[in-house]
């Protein structure tokens, strides 16, 4: 069986309810974020954002790139973890950490770089803080030979040299934000030469760049439908891999920042349930950080997709885009909202959400690393924690459940977190 799929899966036509469309703020009569979209995104991506099609062919070049970065990724059984927990449950993890930049982010970065290149875009620009997304995009741009400009919050630029170097090595132009490349950056630098920056500022700089430079487009690492779409390669592979070994998942678990890895992982399964009634007994569990508890404590309302408010409003579970989470290190989970499609599924009761603290998840990561040898990213550690909780539950009730977890990334470039938390 060919594990790598030929099409991405768009769950939108199979949702239990219509996906609320993006909206502009009602009280802004001058500036339309929706009108801005074509300036920011390559056409084919916007088309995917609003397509009515269920299966979208993965272009040959993207398939090749997927193969070259190691797709299909293995689905591995965590035998040692099972043994340690003395659980009758079987735990599998889908190894998205095996990509060159260490996470699932490359799955959409490659697609975005490909479409941009195809449309003659000269440069992709984005913002990054911790750097997982920035480095995935830098890598993808290098592979499709397109320029890449990353605005990295100055604080991370200084504190996370490895990610910065990685991006530069891929040939990306990495600038600390606020920077002198944009008007907003120059203005903020005038006030404070050492301005630490913020994701909001970095996004503003990236967006300003696209507005001024018609040959530049903006790349986005999560939340948007097309990002989730590209990530379905994870779930489609997983489904075939489970078929091959004759397993039916009882529980599927993933961590949620914007929701792209988890969504890409579960949508094919939820989709099959919604269309054909398969996987009726499968539980889908989204795990977030207590530091940004949008799914467990947020509201399901229209909110800007970005902290800066340059992107349209989307109907999502959110803690509010101006919410400032306490400094946690699973930077990828600090995002204030959960992707619209995922939010809808939570609202409709198809996905359950749970939240953990940083301490709890780092301890779970430590346990996992010791027995399975692989260090989870702090983000991924949230999913690992939930898998352990489930497996322990199975032990107490003697349940032989099949637990599948999306192992979204490794923590090799985040190791300092473990030391800061004294987790060993």
């Amino acid at each position: 069986m060919n594990i790598l799929p030929s099409h991405w899966y768009n769950i939108v036509p199979d949702l239990p309810k219509p996906l609320p469309p993006p909206r502009d703020p009602e009280d802004d009569y001058i500036f339309s974020r929706i009108e801005l979209l074509p300036k920011l995104f390559p056409s084919e991506l916007l088309d995917q954002e609003f397509t009515a099609e269920r299966y979208i062919q993965i272009p040959g070049e993207v398939l090749d790139a997927y193969r070259r970065i190691g797709r299909p990724t293995p689905l591995v059984r965590a035998v040692n973890l099972e043994r340690l927990l003395n659980t009758p449950a079987r735990i599998y993890f889908k190894r998205e950490d095996l990509s060159p930049t260490g996470s699932h982010k490359i799955n959409t970065a490659l697609a975005q770089a490909y479409y941009a290149k195809k449309e003659g875009v000269q440069m992709l620009t984005t913002e990054t803080s911790a750097g997982q997304w920035g480095s995935a995009l830098a890598c993808a741009c290098a592979m499709f030979d397109i320029r890449c400009l990353v605005f990295m919050t100055r604080s991370s630029y200084i504190r996370k040299p490895y990610r910065r170097i990685l991006m530069k090595l891929y040939g990306a132009d990495v600038v600390p934000s606020p920077s002198d490349r944009t008007e907003i950056g120059r203005r903020l630098l005038m006030e404070n030469q050492e301005h630490p920056g913020s994701l909001g500022i970095a996004i503003s700089e990236a967006v300003e760049t696209c507005m001024k430079d018609g040959s530049a487009k903006y790349a986005v690492g999560s939340v948007m439908n097309f990002v989730l779409l590209h990530q379905t390669v994870i779930g489609l592979e997983t489904m075939r891999q489970l078929e091959e070994i004759g397993e039916i998942p009882d529980v599927m678990i993933g961590c949620v920042g914007g929701g792209s890895n988890f969504s890409g992982f579960i949508f094919p399964f939820i989709g099959n349930r919604l269309k054909d009634g398969d996987f009726k007994n499968t539980e889908f569990i989204a795990v977030e950080s207590k530091a940004s508890p949008k799914m467990t404590e947020g509201s399901y309302i229209y909110e800007h997709g970005d902290t800066a408010g340059y992107l349209p409003m989307l109907k999502m579970y959110t803690v509010g885009r101006s919410y400032v989470p306490p400094p946690i290190h699973a930077a990828g989970l600090r995002y204030h909202a959960a992707a619209p499609i995922l939010s809808l599924l939570i609202k409709e009761g198809l996905v359950k959400a749970v939240a953990y603290t940083q301490e709890e998840v780092l301890e779970a990561a430590r346990v996992f690393a010791r027995v399975e040898g692989i260090v989870p990213a702090p983000e991924t550690a949230h999913a690992v924690k939930q898998a352990i909780v489930e497996a322990e539950h199975c032990r107490r009730r003697n349940l032989k459940k099949t637990i599948i977890l999306c192992f979204s990334g490794h923590g090799l470039l985040d190791l300092s977190v473990f030391e800061e938390y004294g987790t060993y």
Partner: protein, 260 residues
């Protein structure tokens, strides 16, 4: 003046034009010109401060109407003032609910409209769809449903089975805002789900070649709003605008009636 039912309008391809009831630019001569040159259905928007799915052009039109003192009652008076082949009323369910759906329906009926379109009904208030259908029956309206390309296939088929006068498919994320979306693909997918239910397509349609694309993909007609509002609010002599409107509508009708 309505000789046939709303759905009856779809024996040929249909041009529906959106206008905001009470927008000062929507002079009676505008409506007359449009009607004369072949607009089949007039869709009148009730001004609201919360135009969820509208782009800058229609938002501005709403604001003009409100700022010129148009109230709910006045906008229906406005609608009532024109004798036209087909009139439908558009407003957001959010607003309709706040003023009372029955009240809205009776206003619409009194104003000579044949239907009420609530674009956010199935999206944000799907649990109220039954009430809407029931009230339509009560007021003698054929229901009309608004959908987008992001609607579940199942739901689209379901609403088609409710025998609406037509289904209005929003092609873009908001009115008047062109995005690089392959509308032909989306239309033909939707069309395949609704059998013979008439399908009107709109949002950011301004050019004949877009109309052709819609028709070729299976739409039974198109809706034009922002393009007309831009035309009438762009300044210039009345005569000139009249001329422009005529030419414009002709070009659209020509595309609409082109053999596919």
């Amino acid at each position: 003046m309505a000789m046939v039912s709303l759905s009856g309008a779809f024996r040929k391809r249909v041009l529906m034009v959106y206008l905001t009831a009470g927008d000062p630019y929507v002079d009676s001569w505008v409506i007359e010109t449009l009607s004369e040159h072949g607009v089949d259905i007039f869709e009148f928007g009730i001004p609201t401060a919360r135009p969820k799915y509208d782009g800058l052009t229609i938002k501005a039109s709403y604001r003009r109407a409100i700022e010129s003192g148009v109230t709910l009652e006045k906008s229906f008076q406005f609608i009532e003032g024109f004798r036209l082949r087909h009139k439908v009323v558009l407003t957001y369910f959010e607003y309709a609910r706040s003023i009372g759906l029955e009240r809205l329906m009776s206003y619409a009926l009194n104003a000579g409209a044949e239907g009420v379109l609530l674009p956010d009904l199935l999206i944000d208030y799907s649990e109220d769809a039954d009430v809407y259908v029931r009230l339509c029956k009560q007021y003698g309206f054929e229901p009309i449903f608004f959908i987008t390309s992001s609607f579940p296939y199942k739901l689209i088929s379901e609403v088609a089975r409710l025998n609406p006068a037509f289904i209005y498919m929003g092609l873009m994320a908001s009115t008047g805002t062109l995005l690089p979306i392959t509308i032909s693909r989306n239309i033909s997918i939707i069309k395949s789900l609704i059998n013979n239910t008439p399908l009107l397509t709109g949002f950011a349609i301004s050019e004949p070649k877009q109309v052709l694309e819609c028709i070729r993909a299976g739409a039974d007609g198109v809706v034009i709003g922002s393009a007309i509002i831009r035309l009438i609010s762009g300044g210039g002599e009345k005569q000139h605008i009249k001329e422009e409107l005529r030419n414009y509508i002709s070009s659209i009708k020509e595309a609409l009636e082109a053999p596919v």
